[in-house]
Amino acid sequence: MPVRLRPIVFIVALLVLWHFAVIRSSTHLLPGPMEALGGIADLVRHGLLVKYVTASLFRVTWGFVAATVLAIPLGLVIGWYRRFEMALNPLIQIFRPISPLAWIPMAILWFGVGDLSAVFLIFISCFFPLLLTAINSVQRVPAVYVNAGRNFGMGPASLIYRVLYPAALPQLITGLRITLGIAWLVVVAAEMISVNSGLGFLIVDARNAGNRYDLVVAGMLIIGAIGCLLDLGMGSFQLDYSEN
């Protein structure tokens, strides 16, 4: 059997197992795969699938992009100037462990129930990991590279653009990839509370409005599949200079 087929065969086997296990157990603790598939079909029929996926992706994109645009340059500068880092580090360390979900009440207070709240929560959840990634990636740039740049007569601007940035890039991309995963986790929670659309909303709504667990599981599967695709997409940008 070709190696590439193995995971697919395994997944199909698990689906079959799931299907028969649910039938045999004759309880309602878990909908079977056919019901979940039916749930997805239902969503497609009502035009909700595309609408909810778009809504979730929209929020993640804005929150993630805003965090990237702010956190990466800020982190590069903080990492480069040691004194900045010493001054700001305690503050960053205090904010970092606060779960983005703890921000939900403040988000609703400041931005009301709506897209802006959800985008803000994604932003908060991405900002600190990206800031730390950028700080670390600059500090890990080997001194030989920086010294070579200085030796050849480069000023701070070209040093940052021609040495620090390319040297830090592989680590930055890894950080972006991990952070996008976090954003995708957080959007579901954010949508459960602060908006009326999106995949997170779908899950809460399906449960509240008539215990449609087939839709709950359908939503979970869609979240998993899209998260997987996002990670694959970011992974394709990954760089490793040691294996050109």
Partner: protein, 252 residues
């Protein structure tokens, strides 16, 4: 002896301060290097050879004393003197060409192209123009770094154990290559090593440093024509004299 003084260090003192403790590394170092000279500096490991080279390059400022190059006091890094380290400092995100071009950012395009071609040829990397450092062997990477340094046409090439991480066969080839390049380019070379044989094979003059806090204990003029016969009596005599100066017995 060369006539013109290229670099002079006078009464150099340097201390590292760490956790409130001060460690004196350089203690009244005095040295004169002639224009176009190939000088090797040997000394026990950790004695401060690299520190000395960093003050020559302008990366470290001495606590007292001064380094002068062509009469002017060294106050910071400058493309007229390029320091090459033992760890590979070539940029992994640039190709061989890109690395050599790196220091030429102020030069017009045609001049950049000319120098890239010249130095690729000189260090024997022809055919690898588009290769990335990850595809090169250790010796090739080190040659690339020398090429990148030479491309900006520095007056002085400062080499800090540049072949220290290479295997012994590659190291021998690299020495021959470096001598060939030096004969063509005629830069002043200051070469730090802990390998006495390497020093005697390469240098016009060998400066021996003491343990820390270090100064120049003695210099030896290597009055042997290239190519050098490493079993000739004069070679062995000089080598043994340096070993003795370092306080090491000649047998293992």
């Amino acid at each position: 002896m060369p006539v013109d003084t290229k670099l002079s260090a006078s009464h150099l003192n340097f201390c590292y301060k760490r956790d409130g403790k001060t460690t004196q590394v350089l203690s009244d170092v005095n040295l004169i290097v002639g224009e176009g000279e190939f000088l090797c500096i040997v000394g026990p490991s950790g004695c401060g050879k690299s520190t000395l080279l960093s003050t020559f390059a302008g990366f470290l400022s001495p606590n007292s004393g001064e380094v002068r190059i062509d009469g002017g006091v060294v106050s910071g890094p400058d493309p007229r003197r390029i320091l090459v380290f033992q760890e590979p400092g070539v940029f992994p995100w640039l190709t061989v060409e890109g690395n050599i071009e790196f220091g030429l950012f102020r030069k017009p395009r045609a001049e950049r192209q000319r120098r890239i071609a010249h130095y690729i040829e000189l260090v024997g990397l022809k055919g690898f123009e588009k290769a990335y450092p990850a595809e090169l062997s250790g010796g090739m990477k080190q040659r690339l770094e020398v090429a990148r340094a030479l491309a900006v046409n520095p007056d002085i090439l400062l080499l800090d154990e540049p072949f220290g991480a290479l295997d012994s066969i590659t190291r021998l080839t690299m020495r021959r290559e470096l001598l060939r390049i030096w004969r063509e380019e005629r830069n002043t070379v200051i070469f730090v090593t802990h390998d006495i044989d390497e020093a005697v094979q390469l240098a016009d003059r060998v400066a021996v440093m003491s343990g820390r806090p270090t100064n120049i204990q003695q210099t030896f003029l290597i009055d042997i024509e290239h190519p050098r016969d490493i079993s000739a009596p004069r070679y062995l005599e000089l080598r043994n004299a340096i070993l003795e100066e370092l306080g090491i017995a000649h047998y293992v």
